[in-house]
Amino acid sequence: MASKLKIKVNGLVHSVSASLDTPLLYVLHNELHLHGPRFGCGLAQCGACSVLLDGKEIRSCVTPVAAVSGRAVTTLEGLPALYASERGSSGATPVLHPIQQAWINVQVPHCGYCQNGMMIQAADLLSSTKNPTEDQIRTAMNGHLCRCGTYPRILTAIQQAAAAMAKGGS
């Protein structure tokens, strides 16, 4: 049975109608029309659906919507605002998180379908590990699959983003 729920996504509280066990992914996509988190496997194996829950990466394809009640969900679309709030900056929200900027600088995507999860995981990593080693990056990213073979560029982009964030820039 559908229930009325309130969930907080990208800083805004939304009222949605869904059964409590509906995976968060379908609510984000079909009710809130967010294109960042994507369906890949529905099995928490690939990471295309990743979002941040209170700043930590989770798989929205297996997380019941009821489980995020009272917590903060951030999708790819919300990364720039999240970064601005983490830095305590006032004024206009930047268009891009430094991770997204690095992704463009390095021209990371091929088809881009998996890149949502890659950037979400990178945001999780860089929020806790400011200057990760290559091994730390590889370990953090190992649960995300890319069919197009973009791993080398992702590694470069995360290193660039870490450097940019260390300078406090965007």
């Binding site: 559908a2 869904a18 059964s19 509906t22 995976p23 379908y26 996509h29 079909n30 029309h33 967010l34 294109h35 960042g36 994507r38 369906f39 890949g40 496997c41 529905g42 099995l43 194996q45 690939c46 295309a48 999708t75 790819l76 679309e77 268009v95 891009l96 997204q100 992704w103 463009i104 600088n105 390095v106 021209q107 990371v108 995507p109 091929h110 088809c111 881009g112 379908y113 998996c114 890149q115 949502n116 950037m119 590889r138 370990t139 990213m141 190992n142 995300h144 699959l145 890319c146 069919r147 197009c148 073979g149 973009t150 791993y151 080398p152 560029r153 992702i154 590694l155 470069t156």
Partner: protein, 826 residues
Amino acid sequence: MTGFMHEKEFSRRSFLKGGGALVVGFSMFAGTAGKAQAANADTPFADRTPADYLPDQTQIDSWITLHADNTVTVTHGESELGHGTPTGILMLVAEELNMDFSQMKFAHVESWLQAIGGGNGSSGISARSTTIRLAAALAKNTLVNMASTQLGVPVANLSVASGVISGGGKSVKYGDLLGDKLFLTQMTAANTGSTANPPTATPGQPGTIAKPVSQYGVVGKAFPRIDIPAKVMGTYTYIQNVRVPGMVHARIVRPRGAGANTVENANPLSVDPTSIKDIPGVQIVQISQFLAVVAPKEYDAIQAAAQLKVTWETKQGFPQGSGNFWSWLRTAGDTNTVNPPRLTADSGSAVEAGLAAAAKTVTATYRYHYNGFMEIGPHCAVADMKSDFSGGTLFTASQGINVIPAMIVNVMTGLPSSKWTSNPANYRIVWYEGASSFGGGMQGTSGHEPVEMAAVISATVNKPVRLQLMRWDMHGWDQYGMANMYDVTMGASSTGKITAANWQTYGQVQSNIDEARRALGQVTWPATPGAGGIAPSDTGNYANTGYGASYQYPRRVTSKTQPLYGGALKCNFLRAPSAPQSYFASEQIVDELAHAVNMDPVAFRRVNIDGTSVIGARWLSVLDASTIAAGWQPKVAASNLQSGNIVTGRGVGMGTYASSQVSIVADVQVNKKTGKITPLHLTIAQNNGVTIGPQLVGNQMSGAAIMGLSRAMVEQPTWNTERITSLDWVLYPILRFKDSPSVTLVNAHPSEYTVVVPGATDTDVTAGNTNAFNEGWALSGSGEPPMAAIGSAIANAVFDATGVRVRQSPLNPANVRGAFQAAGIA
């Protein structure tokens, strides 16, 4: 701003038409006649009609729309597959028009606009840019002639930069001459110099109006891909994101895991609707063996598909199972009557003479396993069929938007008591990108099948339908790239000249039955193999790919093909069809011979490439580029074995696809105890003749090599006697981040090797392009070639590290450890 024109237009104008939001922008075309004039990029989405289907390719207006603000929208049907092809097309058009890349936009691809539709993969630029090149060149000439008249300055005294025509102290913009108006100009032999219909020109083709390569200022430089910002911001619309008002969600119901060809094991003997009666609003759609569920909420459709109680007919279609595949394959082709064992190449007695004269011969068997397409995002399609049977709008990620309408006609008119129109133009096909498309694009599950299924479901429930396939549909029901086995004997002289080779190949044909139509009861497998409309095509051409790169030597190739009936997996053309398979064998046995005659493997290859020919020169360019960039130190492979369990090695492998050559130097680390191979670094050199976008090519090289690495090192399906059993990323894994090497990318031109750093904006190969053109190096494709070379490069590096040959893919710990144990080193 450069970029795609997005679907906002149709969501506001088309689907809100009843709400009065329709914006009519058609008046400027009133009074014009003919298809080419009916729709161009300025025509709002909602105002295009079936009459706009397949416009005239000879009209400039079918390709180029000039705006008053001095920008151009290009209506080329090449869909973005992640290859960056639309970006490359914009570079070409900017080049021929003497405009800036930033003045270019790319129209969204759909069948009521583009003259040619759909993507062509690797050859998207090399093969399909030939007409638009002349359309742009003729547009420039037309505009310069107009300027000459208007300014009173002779054409010879006029020049164009950034779309501004200048001369005699005067200037005028393209947009001021003809902005928002039609060219109404047909390309002919007289005004283009091409006698083809439609006119075509390769880069700088003499005798045509195409710009000389030496004058290129856009082509050969680095431009960022137009699709990437939206993909990074989460604003990109993939096919999975397409939404139509009133849309319901559908799932296909079928067993998890397909059976063999002709024995799909998807026949529902009984369906119990009461098993899903607790799910709100759910509907069952069943036509013949086609079974689907529909629900307003997506999660309800997912649950209904999983919960619906169905009794399936089950047959044993795979006599061998995956455990006995290779031994089964050895004899499976012996009784094939459609493609009987046969010679596909034969140099006659020169083969025996060559082998007899050889100082050394090597005999070995190589096996390359089935690989799946394995897009991260399962296929999706949206269909909005009209309740009066007059057509519909269909959204698909297929590469084949211009061939799908006829397929939809077949499906819709083949429905029971069908009233559906048979006019293909009435089925409007709108493209949106799906997850990585690596082949089989116009056929099979990655092409038309999802949209056919969506159309049938929409027609049945009389609502717009979004059909999303599940992970097990992809792993279990998608087609596979073929598995091949090769028995090879090859000989070489003491100085390293290959004297002859005898190949016995074991392969498979593709299985091009339409699974949607099969389930609908519209097509059936012929009673006897080879009869009827789904007869297998021969593997001859594909099986002959490779066999020694550019090396010329007497050869005999005997091909055995496993029968399409009797245990074959459904197969289709996966990225670089058959090249990874055949080069896995041919570039390993060359390495084995080099070792046998005590030669450095690079020096051995060099002896066997005829550098005096154009093709030989192109091969040498990539061999040189890769080995120079990698700092290759000549030595006999495995001549300096390290002690201990963890050892390193270096190998080279070459290959070709889409007429481009590749050489890869691979550095690997090997654990002799566990059999685990860790690729450390790849130095990849590729030659595309004339390179349009070095950054676009660089990304392709890197991606194809890494995906190829995954295929060669990690991937294989499993199946039992009934059906495929590797249904997720655990049971059919792909390469992960930790095992991904770093890469060096080298773009090769005659004696000029450019290292491409991803994203670097100063990459410039214009000088190399001119030299390549002057040497007769033709533009060739970029999307696939490294896939051909990577498997052998890794296997050759493992040999260098350990002295052991691993001749069976995947090069996973189990197979590698098995080879080590057989060799007595583990």
